[in-house]
């Protein structure tokens, strides 16, 4: 039983091993992924601190503890 499961896992990862997604296919998605990451990091890490898209302090104050604990500069 246990050996069957192990071999199933091995063959799945062996298959995956042989697959490299062509760079051309990744590129548009890469931009998409990096933009989402940058937006998330910007709002958690910097908005209404060093720079502001929205006026006021509500975003800054709301995610304030996360900003400090994730290591972004704050006050």
């Amino acid at each position: 039983m246990a050996t069957d499961e192990t071999s199933a896992v091995t063959s799945a990862s062996d298959l995956a091993l042989k697959v490299a997604i062509p760079i051309k296919e990744i590129m548009p998605w890469a931009i998409f992924g990096v933009v989402i990451m940058a937006v998330a990091y910007y709002f958690v890490g910097a908005e209404q601190g060093a720079t502001s898209i929205f006026s006021g302090m509500s975003i800054h104050e709301f995610v304030h503890d996360a900003r400090h604990l994730l290591g972004f500069p704050c006050h």
């Binding site: 995956a16 091993l17 697959v19 989402i36 998330a40 910097a46 104050e61 996360a66 972004f72 006050h75």
Partner: protein, 250 residues
């Protein structure tokens, strides 16, 4: 296929954000609360000194969200948003790396990527500009500090990518072990040079409790390790499944 990976990365990132929230709540919030008490005690002392000197007391900071909201739903939102963003980026990194890291299978590829990510995106910038609890930073220098922090982050990420590329070109000539060590050495020289060149920042008040600062920074390291670690491990399983379900597409 990359779209599938990103969608899964997004969901895994949310899960990782929830785990990181648990770590932050348990190990981070006690230090944050001590720091905020320290801050209000200092503000009160300043106001009392101003009144004693016959000047008007400085205005108090308006409270927009209560501490309960900030340390609860606010902290949760921040962690989940950061996790979701990281998860999307991680899926892209995985798409590039899978099948291109020598003989590594998808699971180990994912875990190794998370290790590189934790070091490049968090640990190296944090060694130069360590995370600080509330009341440590000067509000007047926030632009300067944020700029330097993101600059160090960009340098760190670029150095890792450069070192991996260098390793790739050195390994055929010097072998895996020596080639890897040479690339690592070059990487460390570059990072050390920027640590020396970039200005340091130390705004920790002289009377700030050292143990609180230590606990806060350790909690921050723990949170980031939980975030990257859980994304790397869970994505190892999920990414392998996605890749295995498309073996014929190549």
């Amino acid at each position: 296929m990359v779209g599938q990976l990103i969608l899964r990365g997004f969901i895994i990132g949310i899960v990782a954000g929830l785990l990181a929230f648990g770590w932050a709540k348990t190990f981070g919030e006690p230090a944050v609360n001590i720091a905020i008490h320290f801050e209000s005690a200092q503000d009160e002392a300043k106001a009392a000194a101003a009144v004693a000197a016959g000047k008007p007391a400085p205005p108090e900071d308006p409270v927009i969200f209560s501490r309960t909201v900030q340390s609860g739903i606010g902290l949760l939102t921040g962690m989940v948003a950061a996790g979701a963003g990281l998860g999307c980026l991680f899926a892209v990194l995985f798409a590039f790396a899978n099948g291109r890291m020598g003989n590594l299978a998808s699971g180990p590829t994912s875990v190794l990527l998370a290790f590189y990510g934790l070091i490049s995106v968090y640990l190296v910038p944090a060694l130069k500009y360590p995370p600080n609890p509330p009341s440590v930073g000067e509000p007047a220098t926030i632009k300067y500090r944020t700029g330097l922090y993101f600059l160090m982050m960009a340098i760190s990420i670029a150095s890792t990518l450069g070192a991996l590329r260098l390793r790739r070109s050195l390994v055929p000539r010097y072998g895996t072990w020596n080639g890897s060590l040479l690339a690592l050495g070059a990487y460390l020289v570059v990072i050390a040079a920027f640590f020396v060149i970039l200005p340091g920042i130390n705004e920790v008040p002289a009377t700030f409790p050292a143990v609180t600062l230590w606990n806060f920074r350790l909690a921050s390291l723990g949170i980031q390790t939980v975030l990257w670690g859980s994304i790397g491990i869970i994505f190892g399983y999920v990414g392998a499944q996605v890749m295995a379900s498309h073996p014929q597409s190549r």
